[in-house]
């Protein structure tokens, strides 16, 4: 059930012509004229459309006095007993006036979470396992926290952040700060991308290995029956690891932008 492929085929059939026209208008020639939309973009579009439809449907069922189960589940993304929700992180780390950053941070975090989790459904690959998707998310975060800093202080005031604590250290601190800001871009990208790639790869490897063990042993009937739980139970551990890594990487991809925003809008004492 290659669901991901069906979605890609469907989107390519519907939007293939306009997308090729748009690419040619921008000066890029698509590699495959009949399938200009790659699978990760089609999966991303599916995630975005499904989330928007869900939010539009869900808006009418929200209630302050009597929240249902689904409302409490969705609210757990914002506020958590473990204080790992988006609004909790913003209030703890940024302090006052944190709610103005919630739409962007929450959207990026939720998008990364859903992109990571969709690979649990058989047939889909997570878009974040392709190098360009985490890079796009990291670029958005980079642009956003710099924009927040420039909006809060004027551009000159924001550049003063890069000069370090004392004017004598400024020639040393300025390149270090610039490089460390660019390194944030790299680290956000590579951390998310490689974590999703590796956990999915591990899961498929162990699934294949355990199935080979079972298939080899089932020549001998008794051994085949005895070893049958192995391909059923061992991949469970790895899919659990994959789900855990998906949540954890989405959390880190929410927490780090909050830290960067708080550093960018910090007040000098």
């Amino acid at each position: 059930m290659p669901l991901g492929h069906w979605i890609t085929e469907f989107l390519n059939q519907i939007l293939g012509g306009p997308v090729v026209a748009l690419l040619r208008a921008l000066g890029a020639e698509p590699t495959d004229v009949h399938h200009p939309i790659p699978q990760h973009v089609a999966t991303e579009i599916l995630i975005v459309v499904v989330t928007i439809l869900f939010a539009a449907w869900f808006k009418r069922r929200l209630s302050v006095e009597r929240p249902g189960g689904l409302q409490q589940c969705v609210e757990a993304l914002l506020t958590n007993p473990m204080s790992v929700g988006a609004r909790d992180l913003l209030n703890d780390i940024v302090g006052h006036g944190a709610t103005r950053y919630l739409p962007m941070i929450g959207t990026i975090g939720l998008f990364v979470l859903l992109c990571n989790l969709i690979s649990v459904i058989p047939g889909f690959e997570s878009p974040t396992a392709t190098a360009s998707v985490p890079f796009g998310c990291a670029l958005t975060v980079f642009a956003y926290y710099n924009f927040c800093g420039v909006r809060r202080h004027n551009p000159l005031g924001y550049a003063k952040h890069f000069l370090g604590p004392s004017i004598f250290l400024a020639p040393l601190m300025f390149p270090i700060e610039i490089i460390s800001n660019l390194a944030r871009l790299l680290s956000l990208t590579v951390r998310l991308w490689v974590n999703m790639l590796v956990s999915e790869l591990l899961y498929m490897l162990f699934l294949g290995m355990t199935l080979s063990v079972f298939a080899g042993a089932s020549k001998i009937n008794v051994l085949g029956y005895a070893l049958a739980p192995i391909p059923a139970l061992v991949p469970l551990v790895f899919i659990f690891l994959h789900i855990f890594v998906a949540f954890l990487q989405a959390f880190v991809f929410t927490l780090l932008p909050v830290i960067y925003v708080s550093g960018a809008v910090a007040e000098e004492h």
Binding site: S83, V190, V194, N195, M204, L211, S212, A215, L248, V252
Partner: protein, 108 residues
Amino acid sequence: MNKRYATLLLMLVAVLLVAPAAFAQEAGGTAAAKGFTDWVSITPGFAMAIASAACGYAQAKATMSACEGLARNPGAAAHIRFAFILALVLIESMALYTFAIIYLKYLR
């Protein structure tokens, strides 16, 4: 006869599932003749082993400090757990940068 077909189907599924990983493991470049060691093919293994070893040591240190802190101050469990998980994720990502280089250079 049904079980035979089921076994054959499972074997086919297993091979199809493992095959992409097996293709990914082939290192590029032909081995040089005349008895030279093909270091190009085994360097990724050494690099990843060193990175994982260092990552394991660092995570062990982080875990040790977190457990000591939790034992001394069980009331601060939520904060310690937060810092602990964050530290583990950041240290893990350092080992994964090595994997990223290996993937980009050797496994394409």
